[in-house]
Homo-oligomer: 318 residues x 6
């Protein structure tokens, strides 16, 4: 019965600034089987090629998530009444060893996945999505709605390094975890290394909606196109906060001016209600580069937006 | 004659950073009868349920108001040529006693009101509008154009506390100071405590234009709707800076992403020219959470926008 | 047996930035009887006469306390091997009602006290020490070593308000909770309201070691004098971070230049080892006025210093 | 041959945070004849009437320009393949003598101009554009596309001072360096000193597209109008970052709320491709008032946008 | 009679954050003859060779001076009971013309001096002391106790510029306004341009107590030496906040590590009680480079320290 | 002849804020043989177990080093007249591969060493000293004066990771690069993982002067002891900025309160003049955690202090 589902602390009883800051002020669980949606942190930025700091993302997003309330004001989804949601803590990581971290994260998510629990994660840099995919998309590739300023389908850095936050989706496609034909990237922009940068995405069939196309066609058409691409099959949503203009999300490692607004981001996520969702994440919140917690608040709010459509999706399936 | 009306210090003679920072660099008055519009501060945030700090709002808005010049560049209203305007200082407050503060503020505004002076105030948290109403709307309820991310019509907090910055307008309606049928709220958004949160406003007839409706119908239709609701009767404008997206106004206690822009806010206020205005305020500027004075500058500029239409309204009435 | 005492997460296994930030990375308990020393937050600043913000203190001190390790490098006290220590969460508070908050806090500490548990608390403004005393010093007054820039023995503010963060120790003495003859204040300084400000402390027998005397006699003599004053009877230590120079602790509501250094503060606390301690607190950490978490780190480190001598004192008694 | 044109350091080999921060990570030159486009700093703000700080602009824009890559993602212009581009260092200035600085800057630009090199400069306050014009527009007046919140055509300040950052374009017109009929100002807004403030611009034939008109007609119509005004003759583009809303560019001396977005700014510059360009600048980036480098990043990115259309224009002419 | 002397607003009635921020919350005067000590701002930094910003010093020192109370806690001097003290506003300045500013400032101080009023000023960069001397030391040179990291006796900058904040005291000596034999400089340190930098001071007989000597001989001996040098004749005290270590006063244009502490600074000023004082200033507080208002608070507190010994000196003379 | 030695830009000609920010405003060289002392950056923090950011250290130290002048004010050493000094840029690094970075750095320093050039480096985290030692101490182990809050002689982290910024000197001793009997550590403090933490240093003969001993014996005795330990043989100085109290150096990854002052640090370095120095470094400056550039300024100034005694040492040897 919903009434015994885990509930956030009530801000009209315990002020928002009080208490241990778990995600959404929810109870903390150690067994993934206790919840249907696990809120998880991946405090790791070892794949970052420029400004590190996203390792501190989960803690600050937890902190700012105290500002969230319980019911979505537009969709009226009340996620904590629909499904069991809880904070499952942070994935194990190794800040000085990239490959070891990928293994630790994958192992942790494998347990979550095997418990039948859907993960809603906060990074960490964007490379963290790769071990999540390795844990949840082994059996069949997932589709993906990908919000980002960058395609993250580069090949190598600093010589022969295959794993950075600029390469996860090329690797995921190569490993058969991500279906490029069911992948849509929204908000891509910024100067590029060479005119060939975008060939991989194009060649393997990813639908890229650059920022300029988005500005041109608008929110509704973008939603329609994204839904058309991913269809009814299992789909993952990854939200890199640098898809937002730095005015809205300054605290990130690779800001690109000329991005989308938070209102547009919210409208886009709301427009994905009803998809067959198997997980989601918010990545690249980098508190050392943030300003007054602005980006962590954006991260927490986008996490709530994602939680609502995830809860709705799970409820529909059950 | 206008030429002996109080005038701001001239920035082409005395640089903006020089001199004692009164509102708009105007002379300071102690007798409300000396001015037609009194610029006032209410340095108090005792009604704040989460992040205090708006007590420091008046001082920082005064500081940033040194950036204002004398003539509105769109309407060409020159407020200091139309009416006598001055800085009347701050209302008396008690930072450790909520009910005592409400009384002190009310008493102070009663004097202003009895002098026939129209108050343009800077909070302070949003609860300060309640004692202003108690002073100026005793005789008959006012109408209100209310810019805010939050309806501020909740009932109680922390047990039985009736007075917080989340409750002023429920109290004002209950006390017969505010006419809900002549009240329009613009920009309301953000997750809510429960699906019933909005029932009070709906039941008593407040016209709520949520952020999503505003984004849909645009500035002009919103202005038209607001004018239709409040009509020609005495009307008050209250501008909570959290109606703005946090990118534009980070320094506030309860930021909600996905808000309006400053340009939209300015256009909305300009669209209210010609109403029968009896007062206005800018609230919830919270300097400890501000970033580089950005929100205080927004507060000062919105205050100037309000001053122009207030001066115009008074001039028309006289 | 010590080996099953609660232990902090190991930073050589789980990086400091990972995991839910409880005090010292310790397990979280809800029953005070489970621990001998309870680490507690009191997120409340309703007694603040000027710059509020200490309500956010417990959360940020918890955050920075991730930097603490397990053994004191000078005394070699290993507190988690000596006694059971845990995070007991935050006291209930009401941010808009002072008297209600005092009651809630007192009730919470009464439970802790009745479980035989010693509280080590983080404020909050300095008024929080009063309800702690009401809970733990009912039976007989305690002695106190009081680190502060201010005597906090004023009488009234804003008319007849008896309870502010400038008055707790006058109230505690009047209520028979604090023995002024066994009270020593260290670091007092800063301009005063009137020459009579210090009469109360003097008249009731408090030993005041002003900053200037401290600078003159040094750390060792100050320790000796403090030990002489409080003797072997039950003693409480209260550490207001504004005793430190603002260069070391900028994030506080009433900074006074010319204060002590952190090294001196550490030496002073270490010099109190062996006292008969019944509790301690660190107050007035105000994150909105802090700079880069500096003051919260100081608060966490001073908390660890206090924890070591508290653990040692309890171990000796047992 | 393009392949031996100066190239930026490759961020996939040398991380962005490494190395001496020249503009765009390009080689540093001392002889203007070695490049076709010279990237230049003018670290001077002696014309600033309110908040100085733009003297630090060139250094921080250089710093943030490490984030730029090599190819424009929309136009696919690859500037370093089209023309020789290099960092030519900073113009000589005198921080305590305005007239001496104007002379030093003019002399420096004269050398650049005489080498046949096109300058792309970073200020500095907006007065720096005047000595640039004196160096490059002696022979015949240039046309100008001017992005700004302010017209900068005032006459005098503080008595009889003719040269401030509020007066450069009145002076340039008086000196025959700037053709007002081929001048368009975009984004002008903010309260004004008097209703006559805008008479000079109007009287001499400048086409002013106020912010309100821009919001009304949109990007495409603004581009068309700007192109119509300046035509095919030699044209200079000056980009004052305060044309942007302070949410996007907080670090500037005279912010005005209600400005354009970075996306709009980028679209506007892209729309000027194909003009007959003789130089460009980005001015009024003021690091002491910036927040987390946001405005310097905007400055660097707008500089890259300008570089692309400058390179294209030079290539077409050659 | 003292009881009608101007008094600061009482912080136990009107909270510190309320009200217009005049110096020390004192009444504002426009006629120097109304007070015996005039608190004055000189918002000007046109002599700054590197990082400007001290123009904003007076406003922020006024802001932080709300933290001051009424009686000195060590000397028990109650300045407002001894003499008439008031805020006389800011000197007129011209931010874009150095020589014009020197004239305006001198003229303003001449009026103060001719009214028989003693000035206690807040800069502004250190060049502001020169026009003060021109106004008050025309008749006979003054002696000076000079706290600073830099000797400020350089000759020329940027070619032939005689007036910068690095040259005021060479000019003052050349003009016969300052008696080098009655001048003592305390805290001088930091790398120098050449080994000859210190020759001028040495040759004309200034007693320089470098930081290293101060650290060696201590506060008491330094006070004794300073008193010996200036004797009983008219003496001016100038306090450049960069004499303090940047940990205590980060907000200044030319910080030098390894400086004195605020406690030492306070002890030094207190040790000058009884001198024959004709004025004092606190300079080089630069808010754009400050951190959380720390340096402005130091400036306000040092101003209060100076006010106490000035008031005492005037009282003794009268 | 000295007169053609590389010289910094003259700040009395080119203001400090102008020009490309190389170390000390010196010319940039690419061939180590061109200089006797190479100023080098190592922008890498891959060994950091908690808060990364030191990768940005070299750039910000370069930036702040513009504040340095040419002659030491106490020793009167004029380093640029004694030896050839230049900025040699940054070592190559790989931000996502620890072992690859150690190799790249070692290779780079091997070239410097083989050119007979003495390196003065800015990290980077403290692990960077290990590859420096591998390059310069292959032939025989060096002695070391080590300023730090932490011994950095731990063994392993996160399982079996041998290389972190907590382990370099254990590794260096194991590899025969560092002579523990000629090693002195100064300023060690802070809570420890276990009582055995310090056994390695003790067992292999390192002389550890804990903060408490330093506070007790003072600067002069500490210098004497350090000189006794290292003797006349080749010695390296490593200065971790966290040896300083966080009030003086907030911008570092692992701050520990209760540290030394900058004045003490300067005195200590000056006291090492005359040693047989073969290199030095300043590490752990972490700009993302810095406040207003304070720590980078400290880093630049300590670098100048080290440069002076290095230049003196080389001059004596030659």
């Amino acid at each position: 019965m919903p009434q015994d589902f885990p509930q956030p602390m009530d801000a009209a009883v315990i002020p928002r600034f009080a208490g241990i800051p778990s995600f959404m002020r929810l109870p903390i669980f150690s067994n993934p089987a206790d919840v249907q949606i696990a809120l998880l942190g991946i405090p790791w930025d070892g794949g970052t090629t420029n400004r590190a700091g996203a390792r501190h993302g989960p803690r600050e997003v937890r902190n700012q998530s105290s500002m969230m309330r319980k019911v979505h004001h537009v969709s009226h989804i009340a996620p904590y009444d629909l499904v069991r949601v809880g904070d499952l803590g942070d994935a194990p990581v190794n800040p000085i060893d990239l490959l070891d971290s990928l293994k630790r994260i994958e192992g942790f998510y494998r347990e979550v996945h095997e418990a039948g629990t859907v993960p809603l994660s906060v990074g960490g840099d964007h490379l963290v999505t790769l071990p999540i995919f390795r844990a949840i998309a082994r059996d069949r590739p997932v589709g993906m709605v990908h919000f980002d300023a960058h395609s993250d389908t580069n090949d190598r850095y600093f010589g022969d390094n295959l794993y950075t936050h600029g390469t996860p989706f090329r690797r995921a496609i190569e490993e058969g975890l991500l279906d490029p034909k069911r992948t849509v990237q929204i908000g891509i922009r910024g100067s590029i290394y060479s005119a060939e940068d975008e060939d991989f995405a194009k060649d393997c069939g990813i639908r890229v909606i650059h920022m300029e196309e988005f500005a041109d066609i608008g929110v509704a058409a973008t939603i329609a196109e994204a839904r058309r691409i991913v269809g009814d099959e299992p789909t993952y949503i990854t939200f890199d906060v640098d898809v937002l203009d730095p005015a809205f999300a300054p605290g990130t490692g690779t800001p690109e001016i000329g991005g989308i607004t938070t209102l547009q981001a919210q409208q886009l996520i709301r427009g994905l209600q009803g998809l067959n969702l198997v997980g989601a994440d918010v990545v690249e919140v980098s508190p050392p580069f943030d300003v007054g917690g602005a980006t962590a608040l954006v991260g927490a709010t986008m996490m709530f937006e994602l939680l609502c459509i995830l809860a709705d999706s799970i409820k529909r399936r059950s």
